[in-house]
Symmetry: C2
Subunit: 80 residues, 2 copies
């Protein structure tokens, strides 16, 4: 199965990288953009056929490695 995990900063956590991108965009003339937050995306194949088993395995992967759950949220998408 194909899986995608999107890791984003929690609300209230400062995102200096996002602020830098926003400043650069404004400098390039894209002034209508605000509140940029940068996150990470992981695409991978996961073995097995049971979506719920895969989901719980991916949740464990997020908790242990892919996301820092103190400051980050994660969302899981699985497609066959």
């Amino acid at each position: 199965m194909k899986a995608r995990v999107i890791v984003t900063l929690k609300n209230g956590v400062l995102d200096p990288q996002g602020q830098a991108i926003e400043g650069s965009l404004a400098g390039l003339g894209f002034g209508g953009v605000s509140g940029i937050r940068q996150g990470k995306v992981f695409d991978f194949e996961i073995a097995g056929t049971d979506v719920e088993v895969a989901r719980s395995q991916i949740m464990a992967m997020c908790e242990k490695l892919l996301a820092n759950t103190v400051i980050e949220n994660y969302a899981i998408e699985i497609s066959n």
Copy 2:
């Protein structure tokens, strides 16, 4: 409008970061995972009400700053 841009490496472009994550996951006991590719996600607000105008503006932003189109693809999602 809320917009999300997902930037991923093109097929065939080496992803050492993804390989490192795959190795770490295997070390943690998550052996069923393969072909990990890491990408970036940008969430932001964009001014205006016309989705097509916003989309063309975001495409220009991607071409100029958010993605390196030599080695990266980008996908745009816009929601009101």
